[in-house]
């Protein structure tokens, strides 16, 4: 694989600790290039979710740098711009679907980006169609099934046209069929991705690179278990 010169996301020496706990992440280094799909796995509580939240600035690292699309991010404003270009899919879809209807939920992002209402509606309908979810726009979000909720959250992230997709355990509690469907959709997307998954079969089919998070360190497990540093 040929990497373009400019990494999309670059993390340098990132460390994090929760109050009254030992360090969760210890000096992590990581780069995401375009066309990559990096799967990160690791034990429960290894700090995977924490890492993703640090990347998009939902938590602030005490130490280390996050460079998104060539620009170092420090302030809330800088992270705000990063978030528009790096879409995060949460572990629990219920956290992400906070509007009463599907259309309102998908429109929420574009409206915040400054699109007019009509543009937002058009974009949302297009995105829903692309994911094969046309006809769902006036459904009530909390009455959807688990798999449907997952698809709508994906739509609400994709509608913002991010350059990077960040997915936190997208297959959680999905059955085989829903998993296959999601896999197909994700494989068809052009974006670079960072994916957390415990699911071997799923990650093997999706990943261009796999990493393992353990004891606060990010390691490349397959070849020689050497710390990526």
């Amino acid at each position: 694989m040929t990497y373009s010169n400019n990494p999309l996301i670059k993390i340098e020496n990132l460390s994090y600790a929760y109050p009254r706990r030992g360090a969760v992440l210890k000096s992590i280094n990581f780069t995401l290039h375009s066309n990559e799909r990096v799967v990160i796995n690791g034990d429960n509580g290894a700090g995977k979710t924490t890492l993703l939240h640090l990347i998009v600035g939902l938590k602030k690292a005490k130490q280390g740098d996050i460079i998104g699309f060539g620009e170092p991010c420090k302030t809330e404003k800088q992270f705000n711009q990063l978030r528009a270009r790096a879409g995060l899919l949460f572990q629990d879809p219920d956290d992400q679907l906070f509007c009463p209807t599907v259309l309102e939920d998908v429109m929420f992002g574009p409206l915040n980006l400054g699109f007019t209402k009509q543009q937002a509606i058009d974009k949302s309908l297009q995105t829903l169609k692309k994911l094969g979810m046309q006809g769902f726009e006036s459904r009530i979000t909390h009455q959807l099934s688990g798999g449907e909720k997952r698809m709508i959250t994906l739509a609400s992230v994709l509608v913002m046209e991010p350059q990077v997709l960040i997915l936190d355990e997208p297959t959680n509690a999905l059955d085989e069929k829903a998993k296959m469907r999601l896999l197909n959709v994700l494989q068809g997307l052009p974006q670079a991705m960072i994916i957390i998954s415990h699911d071997r079969a799923f990650s093997d089919q999706l990943a261009t690179r796999q990493l393992h998070l353990q004891d606060g360190l990010l390691t490349e497990p397959s070849k020689s278990t050497v710390a990526v540093a």
């Binding site: 939240h53 998009v56 939902l58 705000n80 978030r83 528009a84 879409g87 995060l88 949460f90 629990d92 219920d94 956290d95 992400q96 906070f98 509007c99 009463p100 209807t101 259309l103 309102e104 429109m107 929420f108 992002g109 409206l111 915040n112 980006l113 209402k117 937002a120 509606i121 006036s138 009530i140 979000t141 909390h142 009455q143 609400s156 992230v157 913002m160």
Partner: protein
């Protein structure tokens, strides 16, 4: 857009109720909200039987034409706080006036009874109108209507959030409650029960707070920076104006009945 959505009556409890479409659905939400508010104002402030009874009849007509499920509606009206109903039963005995009958030396008066009846009629009329005009819209439509009626944005969004998460949290509550039941827990009148329910409630609070944090994060991730958008624009049509005028005329009639009685 919001038409054809699920019935709001039970939308938070997650049951996909079949909402029977009726002509009421076609009326602008703002008109419905304002009409029911004014209706409540006029009926509650009436001092005579005739206008309240007329109001109750009008409420029945609305219930019929909004095709509410009669059984469910009745159940809800009867569910009106039992505590208040007992209060109403006390009234005849505490109001002085012409004696109707007496029990254990306590005299029940006609005036008291008529007062109690008046309260019952008023309360029911208002509730039925609310059920047929307001409760038949989806919660989000109601929210948008309130926002257009200059109710503060924050209050409207608070309502929308509540409607959205009532279901999620009540599911969580039910699951935890079932898990307790599965470990042979039975509600009794003792401290073990109260302690367990207290723990359950506390845990529910903590989980909800953590969820709220995650929701805020999710909103930030989609570019949210402190400003909400409401996306329904509402237009008044002919049917809205006709309906509004009819309700106004009816209310003026009710007011007139009151005044008429005042002059006698």
């Amino acid at each position: 857009m919001s038409q054809g959505l699920e019935h709001s009556l039970t939308s938070w409890s997650g049951q996909a109720l079949k909402h029977q479409a009726s002509w009421i659905d076609a009326i602008d939400a703002r008109v419905r909200v304002v009409c029911s508010g004014l209706f409540a104002l006029v009926v509650v402030l009436s001092s005579q039987f005739a206008p309240t009874l007329l109001g109750l009849i009008a409420a029945f007509v609305l219930v019929k034409s909004s095709k509410l499920n009669i059984k469910r509606t009745l159940r809800r009206v009867i569910a009106m706080d039992l505590f208040m109903l007992t209060l109403i039963c006390i009234l005849p005995f505490t109001t002085p006036g012409d004696v109707m009958f007496s029990v254990f030396g306590l005299a029940a008066s006609w005036q008291g009874l008529s007062h109690a009846l008046l309260i019952t009629i008023k309360a029911n009329a208002v509730l039925l109108v609310l059920f047929s005009l307001v409760a038949t819209m989806s919660a989000s439509t109601l929210g948008h209507a309130l926002a257009h009626l200059k109710v503060p944005d924050k209050l409207v969004h608070l309502m929308l959030f509540m409607v959205r998460y009532l279901d999620v949290i009540s599911q969580e509550y039910k699951k935890m409650r079932r898990a307790m039941q599965a470990r042979a827990f039975v509600l009794r009148t003792n401290r073990h029960t109260w302690k367990s329910i207290g723990y359950l409630f506390g845990m529910l609070l903590i989980r909800s707070v953590e969820r709220a944090e995650r929701i805020s994060d999710a909103m930030k991730c989609r570019g949210f920076c402190g400003r909400y958008y409401l996306n329904d624009d509402m237009k008044m049509g002919r049917i809205d104006i006709i309906f509004g005028v009819c309700v106004m005329c009816f209310l003026i009639l009710l007011i007139g009945l009151n005044i008429d009685d005042l002059f006698k």
